[in-house]
Subunit: 441 residues, 2 copies
């Protein structure tokens, strides 16, 4: 919808902009679903940035319940289920992502839900209304963590099963352990190093247990937090190029590689990592929005014979979440990813207060940085800590894009006043530790 | 003390490190004084990072009450009041800054205090214990604002007099107006556009009123918040080079220009602005600490015949404070400073929520950015807003050092999750507004 809206704003009145949406919602925040389920947000409507009616008022022909089932790039047509094919001059694919559903016995049973759409959110809310005895969340990434918190906050017996030996595999184990402690303290049953092998269903096909390599867990509601893959079967069937996790391969103008009149943006595409150059699938709203803006700019410029202005430069894999009062964030490469990318990483971590230690209420945070031994370049950073800790990752994310060394990070002119920070900002304290580690190595 | 401690750690036991301190305190946070006066911090001791005893235990010969009164760079000696001269191989000047006391009638009366040392803090606390009827704060910069808040929080009738037409001249007027509103809402009497012309003293030499170009303000306690100048008469008398506001001129290794064995760091030196290259006096603890580290590294390296590792790269004038619940921060150049530096600035400002608008408790903030029309480079940013607003300035401060354009800021991969941020981070929303302003101009 970002693309449609962006293009609509720039085209003349005679140009048609049609959006095919197989569901009933437009322009909503999937990231807000756990907070809706938790009860922090009143209703699904609050998560909708713009309704179909609003888009129509802006001159976009939004067709709800219209499911595109095939693309013919030669004929420039899209087939619609139970409808006539539609011709196009330019096509934008924004089919998003879908929760990973591993091919395990019983996976399609009732009561086993992913979390991606507002409909998913409503289904889970309905399930919780029925009062499940045992909720099992599979996976301890962001969604797993947020959904587990939502369920336990509503008073349900909640177990998180994680295949890795620590929670949140995208942060280093030493930080994951802090998150694990917080989960246990909140009353979540945490089972790490446990692999799910299948689901036992009752006679009506409803889940009653999760089977693992360490025994059976009773469960009448299962939430899948195993990440998502691109929803790209439509693109694949049309012969479009796919990359990691099925993401459609686009150039930095969001044009599908090899197809001059097909564009794609959001959770259905791959993007490149700005540090390694690797093509990765990183489905986050922040990238989807930027990509949509870039696609709209380039598509409109092409139609209008103007110079396009925008390119999408890729990502550094910044992410943030909160578990109860514990804030968690990361950016760039972890130790393992850095090694895999051919760097010789040095990892340093420190514990510091989130503002001047003599001020009342100062909490602590752990900041970990990864630096390259050879170039001294900052490669990544991770933070776990109390209030006001996690957003500090943005300094590291900006420094990563700028290619700064840890020495340069130490000398940044960051904000300091007693209610906000110590005289050395936490990311700088960690960068100093990295400098020390580099000297000692 | 940072320099002494840094040098001490690296030298052999036979090398003497002597510190002359005319007062009784070492290594304290001057920035914490307003919070001590407000009662948020229990005692002056809490603001002391390291006591003279602790420094002595680390092998530093700290001499309290020892006032250096002259430096002889030829003879390499320092004269001490009521003591024998001391010879040196290397000299470090860290004499700090002193509050500006304009040459006005009555300025030296009792009850008129600057805020720089812990002794100043104690004197003001003692004054407040006596229960003044009318406190007048002269100046509405950081210290003026913080001290006014402290006084009004303790129940005293408090007036702030500011010569400019808006408060906090280092932020743009439109943001200063928000701060002014908050001050008035807190019960502070604010008099902007009013120049202080002198102080009326009673028979015993104690202040009873502040005279202004708009009449007399009764006052039995006056706090000067007019900034500070370098305390550099010692350096000046020794023939050392001085720059803006009396700051000692040093190179990027903190060596005094033209004097191979004299170093200086902290509030007594000038530093260069990383955007304009200008030499400026910017007395903040965050710079003082870094400069101390740099001076120690270079001095020790020289004594040990090693390669120095550190240079101080200058500043981008980042600053932050809080007035009640209103957070205020800035970095880089404002509109006027940008023009004076030869840029053709475009200023754009936006109002946004500090996290996803649908989350409970989302507050608002105003973010203003300054960009150069020609190069599209980010030149500065300013933020005024609710909780969690001001620290976001660090992204802009980092981007400034990296020389990023506003277009590059828009495409940064910053952290996003509903409890922390909207999908476009506030600094990016403002950068987008700047991009739009650049297109329209």
């Amino acid at each position: 919808m970002t693309v449609a809206a962006g293009v609509r704003r720039r085209l003349g009145k005679d140009d048609e902009v049609v959006v095919l949406e197989r569901g009933t919602w437009t322009s909503y925040s999937a990231c807000g679903i756990p907070y809706w389920v938790a009860g922090d947000v009143d209703s699904a409507d609050a998560l909708v940035a713009r309704t179909p009616q609003e888009h129509r008022a802006n001159g976009i022909d939004v067709r709800l319940g219209a499911e595109a089932v095939a693309i013919d790039p030669e004929a420039r047509t899209v087939s619609v289920k139970d409808g006539d094919p539609i011709g196009y001059d330019h096509l934008v694919i924004a089919t998003g992502a879908e929760p990973v559903r591993p091919d395990l016995p019983g996976i399609h049973g009732d009561g086993i839900h992913g979390v991606q759409s507002l409909d998913d959110g409503q289904v889970i809310l309905d399930e919780l209304e029925r009062g499940p005895q045992h909720v099992v969340v599979v996976g301890s990434g962001y969604i797993g963590l947020e959904m587990a918190e939502a369920c336990v906050a509503r008073g349900f017996d909640t177990t998180v099963v994680e295949r890795s030996s620590t929670v949140m595999p995208i942060i280093e184990a030493q930080l994951g352990d802090q998150v694990a402690e917080a989960m246990k303290a909140r009353g979540i049953h945490l089972r790490t190093g446990v692999a799910v092998e299948g689901f036992t269903l009752d006679a009506r096909g409803r889940v009653v247990a999760v089977e693992t390599d360490e025994g059976t867990l009773p469960a009448d509601l299962v939430i899948l937090g195993l990440g998502v893959t691109a929803r790209s079967s439509l693109a694949r069937d049309a012969g479009l190029p796919l990359g990691a996790k099925g993401g459609i391969v686009v150039d930095d103008r969001q044009r599908v590689r090899g197809f001059s009149d097909i564009w794609a943006a959001g959770d259905c595409v791959v993007t490149h990592d700005r540090i390694t150059g690797d093509l990765i699938h990183l489905p986050l709203g922040t990238h989807a929005n930027k990509q949509g803006m870039v696609a709209a700019d380039n598509l409109a410029a092409e139609l209008l014979g103007q110079e396009p202005r925008l390119t999408f430069p890729g990502v550094v894999q910044t992410a943030i979440t909160k578990f109860c009062s514990l804030e968690i964030s990361r950016t760039g490469l972890g130790d393992k990813a850095a090694r895999e990318a051919g760097f010789d990483p040095v990892v340093a971590s420190i514990e510091t207060s989130n503002f001047a230690g003599y001020m009342p209420g100062a909490g602590t945070m752990t900041v970990l940085v990864v630096a390259d031994r050879d170039s001294r370049r900052l490669l990544g950073a991770q933070i776990v800590g109390a209030e006001d800790a996690a957003l500090r990752i943005d300094v590291a994310a900006t420094a990563l894009v700028a290619g700064m060394t840890v020495d340069e990070v130490v000398m940044l002119d960051l904000a300091y006043a007693p209610p906000f920070a110590s005289v050395w900002s936490p990311v700088q304290v960690a960068a100093r530790a990295a400098v020390k580690a580099l000297a000692g190595s």
